[in-house]
Amino acid sequence: MIRRALARLEGPFERVFGAASPMHHLGGLAFFLFWIVAASGIYLYIFFETSPDGAFRSVEYLTREQWYAGGVMRSLHRYASDGLMLTMTLHLLRELALGRFKGFRAFSWVTGVPLIWLVFFSGINGYWLVWDRLAQYVAIATSEWLDWLGVFGEPIARNFLHAGTLSERFFTLLVFLHLGVPLFLLAFTYVHVARISRPKTSPPAPLILGTIAALLALALVYPATSQGPAQLNTVAANVALDWFFLQLYPLLDTLGHGPVWAVAGGVTLLLVTLPWLGRRVREPVAVVDPANCNGCGRCFADCPFGAVVMQPHPDRPGHELAVVDPDLCGACGICAGACPSSTPFRSVAELVTGIDMPQRPVHQLRAELEHALDGLTGEAKVVVFGCDRAADVHPLRGPGVATVSLMCAAQLPPSFVDYALREGRADGVLVTGCRTSDCWFRFGADWVEQRFAHAREPHLRTRAARERVRVAWAGVTDLATLRTELERYRADLRRLAPAAPHTESKPRRIAHG
């Protein structure tokens, strides 16, 4: 239900941006915005004076007299920080809505929670440094909020009683924190993505260019400015808040310090414990069969979650064996699709492959495909291989259309395509799965396309014409589009000559090891 709603919401983004939809690259976008903040911050630091008087003066100099460089950098620093907060929040909400925080994803989820605090801290701390009226308000309100905890010997807020109580050393400490905490944030971000393979820490180039251009435009049209110098003998009564970072501050006045701590702590605790709340449904994980594993490492290369590692084979010296870490396995079946032993042409009594999913083993897929092929009649006969997480392919079934739904599109070994097309049992094969760049298991669509394009092992070796194999990505709400694409494909197939029988028409035994 939520997936469908989200898919509809994100539909316009995909139509406009295609594979570079920002909604599919929120994490990478946040990462990229962090780099903008870091780069612009380094520039600002060169000119920044670490004293109560110098801070405001130096920032004003950058904003007014050096508007073409320092002013732009200041605006980029501000707006990229806001963008970082926005994309990080959307990233969190999207993963939450999709339920992607349990089981093998728990580590990434839990390690993401401290990042929220670190981003907030860095941003709020940064506002102090400008030492304008907003900085005065934020500094005093934050100090009072922290003092409520009662863990500091002296109330921090006493630093802001009047100009005489504020020292240069205090500003040096603030600058130190504003450099140190983002470094810690960066380090922790790498922990956040440590347990997934090939983390997307950078958005696609068009998105990078578009984001830079947009932020630059904003910096020039609506530059970030200060709100007058801080004056501790008067209240900063009316402030233009940055609602991305300071949304909790009005609550300090209305609810009080304790309740806001309770809200912040409660939300944090809820987020941290979320992976273990509620019913846990543990999918069976991939299983390696040492007798059929030749140690080629394709499953290791394709696993999106780094769950497969290669270790020395216990029985065959000089050979390697795939080993699955059950805590990391996402039960996607991509490894089974990558295994060269997963070929339906093998004539063994029961088809057993090197690495397989107990709930949907390769021999079962072959039996399903056989059954599907047997039911095909008429012209332009097509087998549609779908994905359980994408558009449901079963409603497409008909006299000339057979369907097989997989755990992920990349669970499909390319040899199954050959198998379907041999002897003209099917005239074409259509493979579908999650929308481009939005694979539930991260790389399913990419691996399928690369295998079919001979850019990734195992290759699609089909002896039939390539026009008899088509790929059409379709999300959960895209059944109508997929149906249209199928009909178009069948019309194309009707214009082709009937499929020629393959020479490889019988199951064969293949060698291993």
Partner: protein, 167 residues
């Protein structure tokens, strides 16, 4: 044409993106304190007097100590709580007895309280005693002030400068 529409869509998206960021990075403004009010801050950081008076060690006691620790005067570390009372226009607005900080209760007693008040003339007074055993407050100050709207009026305390400081 389709490509052109896509580019137009992207421009619209980026426009919304920066519009959203640009607006919420400064708006709407937040009124932290009503325009007709001033803010009084009641605050101090002051160590209470030693809770127990110092005493002179006897010769026998000194003899038992290592030579490098033979100090005649022995003072306990623990400080007395500090009692304080602030009044505005004759009415007590804050009164408390504040414990010293630290595991050994040997730190300062501290206070930081915000008190929004209507701008205008006020009679303010503050009293403090830095030992609970004292019969009466040993520091006191009062003043007539006119608080401007938005003014921060600090009622601080520093024994080295004679007690209360109104600023």
């Amino acid at each position: 044409m389709a490509k052109l529409l896509r580019y137009a869509g992207q421009v619209a998206f980026y426009g919304l993106f920066i519009g959203f960021i640009g607006y919420f990075s400064t708006s709407p403004a937040y009124q932290h304190l009503p325009a007709d009010q001033a803010l009084v801050k009641l605050t101090f950081s002051h160590p209470g007097q030693p809770k127990e008076p110092c005493r002179e060690r006897s010769a026998e006691e000194l003899a038992k100590l290592p030579p490098n620790m033979r100090i005649a005067r022995q003072c306990a570390r623990e400080r007395s709580p500090v009692a304080v009372e602030f009044a505005l226009d004759g009415k007590v607005v804050y009164a408390a007895t504040l414990a010293p900080a630290g595991l050994q209760h040997d730190g300062n007693s501290t206070l930081y309280q915000r008190l929004p008040v209507a701008a205008g003339p006020h009679r303010i007074s503050a009293r403090l005693k830095d030992h609970v055993a004292l019969p009466d407050y040993n520091y006191a100050k009062q003043a007539e002030v006119v608080l401007a709207p938005g003014q921060v009026f600090v009622m601080d305390f520093d024994a080295r400068h004679g007690g209360f400081i109104f600023k």
